[in-house]
Amino acid sequence: MKKELICIVCPMGCHLEVDIDNDYAVTGNQCKRGEVYGKKELTNPTRTITSTVRIKGGIYNRIPVKTDKEISKKSIFEVMKLLEGVELIAPVKVGDVVLENILDTDVNIVTTRSMK
């Protein structure tokens, strides 16, 4: 069976065709990452999650954060729940670790900007 997918690795949005019976062989990709995505999307889909957390003493009251690696699509809302309780204190630097090893996945939450 073949399945058509749109690659979400980058904004190019390549139209992929994945041959499930042929070890998930991917065609239509313009780079190596599309091949990896096509296979993973049909076996274990993952996403990078971006959101914001509270910050005290900064120029704004919120600071943007992300998962530093992709995490299983199924745990998106669990991760959002974890972020609710976080409050940072300015100043922070971009890339500072906010939460370590979330849900025992080896994924960390890091800030995505510096704030004074």
Binding site: L5, I6, C7, I8, V9, C10, P11, G13, H15, R47, T48, I49, T50, S51, T52, R54, I59, Y60, N61, R62, P64, K66, K73, I76, F77, M80, V94, T112, R113, S114
Partner: protein, 416 residues
């Protein structure tokens, strides 16, 4: 009056890239003017990822992408003013700006770069029907409230228009606990990138209603419900109305280059792009005034904005070194069948160093077609395309050899 080599108007991705590039060209007496309280522009509220794959070969969020350029600009010691609004470009290319420290000020430069970005089409632009309750706002406004200020504008949301910001906000508001009931698009195809349809709508089972629009807005003080109707040839079909109880309607119905000060200065705009008409060097119809980024035409990727602004920055350097030749009979670029616009709009072959990059959008969705570049009767180039859509900018590169075949005009069309 303080005099600079270059003044750059707008400190978002285009202005930052252009300023850094001009500095690297050897012109250090430059000033960047930004109206917000920090540099970075709209990237700062675009906290999602997907930026930087072309320019940095890594996937970054908007704030991370912006910070790299802000850091570089500060390391170089480029002068900038925050919280400052440019109100006028004068005929001698001096400008007027206001802020709370300098008051009203007048500064002059040998060259100006317009990098004001773009603004969102709002309810007034589509003469939206119904009453005027609170709860109807543009997707970008809701994005700023949520990502910068920390306010979720509503709990039950409908989105009109399938532009990228609307799709991104559908996911973002869902993550924050709102219920997004659907996205309506009047056209038969989405106005956003395919990847956003997948990861923002399909991931959360948010329906996309193609060929649909909002035909009524109901609510006294606050928005209570909207009516969605199917359309045919942009006209609602009676009897297809569906009611949605919502407290928020987000509009994601297009972006328009911000050019009030350019127009007031007599700079001629392209009717299609709504940005200035520029030549191969990104020079507008006013000598010494250059434009790039979303103020020139709306891009789908910030990486393309950076690349374009670097090219524009290099051109500004050549202009200041008197290396740019002027001409009265530039080759005109004519968008033909299936092409809605081409940037730049005209070219002076004498100024092209090795190749020319043309950027364009198609008028509809196409599969397995060919882009044909031609000059009057002469065909210059054919490029096969598997898939093209209006939401995805197309690029055509012409070599000096290709350009040697050009006569008075250069046209591009889509052929089946």
């Amino acid at each position: 009056m303080r005099e600079y080599d270059v003044i750059i108007i707008g400190g978002g991705s285009a202005g930052l890239s252009a300023a850094i590039e001009i500095y690297k060209e050897g012109f250090t007496n430059i000033l960047l003017i930004e109206r917000d309280i920090e540099l970075g522009g709209i990237l700062l509220q675009c906290i999602h990822n997907g930026f930087g794959l072309k320019v940095f070969k890594e996937e970054l969020t908007g704030p991370e992408y912006a910070e790299k350029f802000v850091d570089e600009l500060m390391d170089l010691g480029i002068e900038y003013k925050l919280d400052s609004v440019v109100t006028k470009i004068n005929s001698d290319n001096s400008i007027e700006y206001v802020n709370t420290k300098d008051g009203f000020a007048n500064v002059k430069a040998k060259a100006l770069v317009l990098t004001m970005g773009c603004y969102e089409r709002n309810a007034g632009a589509i003469s939206i029907p119904g009453t005027r309750p609170a709860g109807v706002l543009t997707a970008g406004q809701a994005q700023k409230y949520l990502n910068i200020d920390g306010y979720l504008v509503g709990k039950k949301v409908f989105i009109l228009g399938s532009g990228d910001i609307g799709l991104i906000m559908a996911r973002r508001m869902t993550l924050e606990g709102a219920e997004v009931l659907g996205v309506a698009e009047i056209l038969p195809y989405s106005g956003g990138l395919n990847r956003n349809i997948v990861q923002c709508l399909k991931d959360f089972d948010i329906p996309l209603y193609l060929n649909h629009t909002v035909t009524d807005i109901i609510g006294d003080v606050n928005l209570e419900k909207i009516i969605l109707s199917k359309v045919e040839n942009f006209k609602p079909i009676p009897g297809t109305e569906v009611e949605f109880e919502v407290d928020t309607l987000l509009l994601s119905i297009g972006l328009i280059p911000e050019n009030e000060i350019s127009e007031n200065a007599g700079i001629i705009l392209d009717r299609k792009t709504k940005g200035p008409i520029v030549d191969e060097s990104y020079q507008t119809t006013k000598a010494g005034v250059f434009a790039c980024g979303n103020a020139l035409h709306v891009h789908d990727l910030v990486d393309f904005v950076t690349e374009e602004s670097r090219r524009a920055g290099r051109s500004v350097g050549r202009y200041l070194k008197n290396e740019l030749k002027s001409s009265n009979d530039n080759i005109q670029l004519l968008p033909s069948d299936g092409i809605s616009y081409i940037v730049p709009q005209n070219i002076n072959l004498n100024n092209i160093e090795n190749k020319l990059e043309l950027f364009m959008r198609v008028t509809a969705e196409y599969k397995n077609v060919t882009l044909v570049v031609y000059s009057e009767e002469t065909e210059i180039k054919r490029i096969k395309k598997r898939h093209m859509a209006p939401a995805e900018m197309e690029k055509v590169i012409l070599t000096k050899d290709d350009l040697s075949k050009v006569n008075k005009t250069l046209s591009i069309k889509v052929v089946a």
